[in-house]
């Protein structure tokens, strides 16, 4: 029987029952403080969300322990005593609104509800079950740390804290999603990150008005400067060390509860070409690999289109032996170069998509059969020429060298457009498409930073910084377009 007003906006047992009506995992237990008759209080929690042992040992036991709570105390005094330590919990919140109490409960708190004054004390007793910290699956680490982000926000923030043991590492938390109530943490190093970036990021997060924030794509779309571009504007990593490294570059991190990823803003194109392992190896080797990735980016984007343009319009650009070889390869092939490249690109995408969607053993079989049919059989049947297969395969493999899956996807999309432009107007079309792309990229900004930075930095050495990994001793200052006031990374050029 409910003594309180059923429609009250203050926390109470009946009001909470109303709020959680139909929630089979909602538990409410009436207990007598100090086992003394006369005043019932209600302990509420969501089964599975909280740790049962903690509820029993840390809340129910001290509340019901005889003599622990005063005899015939007023409700207000009882709340005060429990809040001040009668219950063993490292967090306690006093809630006087129903909504706040309900939010705490869904966030893994156990609420002790006092019907009389219409107040509740909430204690965090969230269950510890979840995936344990494990090795990164995508960003493999050879010489770096092996701890990757998991789906639990607090575990992830603690991983970052362990890398940067500084009180300057700040953490602001907001909740996003009307229904999901997803906790989102914004992490940055004060002084190193730009205040304006932090403020803007928090503003954009708080402005998100959606039912739920459950996927990385949702977050990126909501807080990106230009959601219409296929190019990624937020860096993301599953490695805590890479996340910490980027915080020290002046970027602002975002960690979303439920996503095993850390996002970083601002995201500029050259940053998407780097991998955390670049900083683990020797700078010369890392520079070579970084340069190779840029070459692969160019090949992946331009090679099919250049092949189409040259083989359809500009045959005179080919060395004679290559021209003769290509002419021979194309004999009796019914499709034009553009059609066969488009067909092969489409087949490539289909194979890739099929391989991803099917379960692993079936996916591998499908890929092998598909590759045989599309590659060998199509060539033998003279439906496509071997050189078109080589070009598309080379472009595809080059695309796989992209560290960022989102960037690789954007390149895959643009590859089709470039081929169409080259098929329509030859190298003129290809160059026009390239000029448009550069114009588009140059017009993008991510949280105030030019998307092509440092390629477009005014000092003229930006391209060098983007294309090569400089030795640490030369890398003394943080990027002026990303970092805040504290730009000095190390003293004396890093010399001993």
């Amino acid at each position: 029987m409910c003594a309180e007003n059923y429609n009250s906006k203050r926390p109470g047992s009946c009001a909470l029952k109303r709020v959680f009506a139909g929630c089979g995992d909602f538990q409410m237990r009436a207990v007598l403080p100090g086992l003394l008759p006369g005043r019932e209080i209600f302990v509420c929690w969501l089964d599975g969300v909280v740790d049962g042992t903690s509820v029993t040992e840390d809340i129910l036991r001290p509340v019901t322990e005889r003599g622990r709570t005063g005899f015939f105390l007023s409700a207000a005094r009882l709340i005060d005593i429990i809040e001040r330590g009668a219950v063993y919990s490292y967090t306690v919140q006093r809630r006087s609104t129903l909504q706040a109490a309900a939010e705490d409960i869904v966030n893994g708190c156990c609420a002790v509800v006092f019907d009389g004054p219409g107040e509740a004390l909430t204690f965090e007793v969230r269950t510890k079950t979840g995936r344990s910290v494990s090795e990164p699956t995508v960003e493999k680490s050879i010489k770096g740390a092996k701890d990757a982000f998991v789906e639990t926000l607090r575990t992830n923030t603690s991983l970052v804290r362990r890398k940067l043991k500084s009180p300057q590492l700040k953490l602001s938390q907001v909740q996003v999603g009307r229904e999901s109530g997803t906790a989102v943490a914004v992490m940055y190093v004060e002084g190193i990150a730009r205040d304006s970036t932090v403020r803007e990021l928090l503003r954009r997060l708080e402005a998100i008005d959606t039912d739920a924030l459950l996927s990385a794509g949702d977050l990126e779309e909501y807080i990106s400067d230009s959601p219409n571009t296929p190019f990624p504007q937020l860096l993301h990593t599953e490695r805590a060390d890479a996340f910490a490294m980027q915080l020290l570059n002046g970027r602002v991190g975002v960690i979303v509860d439920g996503l095993p990823l850390g996002f970083l803003a601002p995201g500029c194109l050259p940053a998407f070409m780097r991998v955390p392992e670049d900083s683990s190896g020797h700078f010369a080797v890392a520079s070579m690999l970084l340069f190779l990735r840029w070459v692969a980016l160019g090949l992946s984007l331009l090679l099919p289109a250049a092949f189409v343009a040259v083989s359809m319009y500009h045959q005179e650009m080919l060395p004679t032996k290559l021209l003769l070889s290509m002419t021979a390869a194309k004999q009796y092939v019914p499709l034009s170069s553009a059609a066969e490249v488009l067909a092969m690109l489409l087949s490539f995408e289909l194979l890739q998509e099929a391989g991803l969607r099917l379960p692993d053993p079936v996916g591998q079989t499908a890929s092998i059969i598909g590759a045989l049919i599309v590659g060998q059989s199509a060539v033998e049947a003279r439906i496509v020429s071997p050189i078109a297969v080589i070009i598309v395969a080379l472009a595809g493999i080059s695309g796989y060298t992209m560290p960022s899956h989102d960037l690789a996807s954007a390149i895959r999309l643009l590859r089709f457009l470039f081929v169409l432009a080259a098929a329509a107007l030859g190298l003129f079309g290809l160059m026009a498409a390239l000029a448009l792309l550069i114009w588009h990229l140059a017009s993008l900004e991510s949280f105030g930073a030019p998307y092509l930075s440092p390629l477009t930095d005014a000092d003229g050495r930006g391209a060098l910084r983007a294309l090569l990994r400089r030795p640490n001793r030369c890398n003394r200052l943080r990027s002026p377009v990303i970092a805040g006031e504290n730009r000095r990374r190390r003293g004396n050029g890093g010399e001993k």
């Binding site: 083989s311 359809m312 319009y313 500009h314 045959q315 005179e316 080919l318 004679t320 021209l323 003769l324 070889s325 290509m326 002419t327 021979a328 390869a329 194309k330 004999q331 009796y332 092939v333 034009s336 170069s337 107007l425 030859g426 003129f428 026009a432 448009l436 588009h440």
Partner: protein, 375 residues
Amino acid sequence: MRRAAAFLLALALSGLSGCSRALLGNYRNIEELQVIQTLGLDGREGGVFVSFSTGRDASGREVVRMGAEGESISGAMQALQGYSVSGELFFSNTGYILLGEEAARDAGSCLDYIERASEIRLDTPLFVVRGAEAGPLVTAGGGEDGGITEIMSSLERFIERRAAGYLPTCADIARSLARSGAALVCAIAPARAPDGDYLTAVSRGYAVLRDGELCGYVEGDAALAAAAFLGGAGEKYVEVDGMTLKLISCGARMEPVWDGGELAGLEMALEVQASVIEARSERDLNDEQERSALEEALAGTAAGWMREVLDVSQGTGADFLGLGAELERRFPARWRDISPQWDELFPGLEIELSAGASVLRSYGFDSPPSRAGEG
């Protein structure tokens, strides 16, 4: 977004302009191209005979060889296009251009066509077929199984490495004609292959062009001296005093002799370095005198080459070595005074020659077998 839309609209509208016709008109299916690799030009009575040979590709297509006559080169080419058995004739990858001797007598007009033709590359080597027409060589060279292109390809490598060494392209020739009024063109001659009954080509020094007309030849080893002055001689084998020497390097330089402000003459020096690769006479090259004698003999031979070249040059009045241009480059102020009389001055100019030679390596011929064990 509005700017992007405007750009796309402009792009779409450009399709209505005349440029689009030019662009779209360039579309060619690569598999339909007949890639011409050797082009022959012959002068005929009142016209020109153009012949071509395609290259052999991996698809097993037959080599296409054809020739047609026309009033002009373009006319003959158009006639050829009409005869073409399959596909479109594609001249952009022409690797060799052969001028028959008759056409070489009016090489200037052929070069003029080549320079203006957008589909022929200026870096294509040009050859003069000495004493014959290019047509038969182009259409019948190499016999049934081969082709003139393979022959020219091996001849090109031979000239660059084991013969004179200097292989002028159309661009080099046009530049030399524009600068000095004369140029050297590689000369070849048709010949029967020793191992088969088919027509092939052999190197025959250089043809000399003066004011766009054929006016003589530089023959034999003398071509080496010309090449040394123009860009570097090849590693040719030369016979000197019963020994076979391989030229390692051959360089030439020129110094003017001034008499006040007047050009009194030229001093030309040729420097040759060689290695012994074969010896038919016993000679102890460890002996300083014998080595010096060999070097002197080589220097004398080299000086003879140079003299021969200069005789041809001064005899025809064709400054194909670019001596005037060299003077202009080094002494521009004095050249202004000389240049009006250069054509008259050059044939009679006193040119003093000197040559030096050194034998760098003897590969064991220092001690001939007959003297092994001595000393």
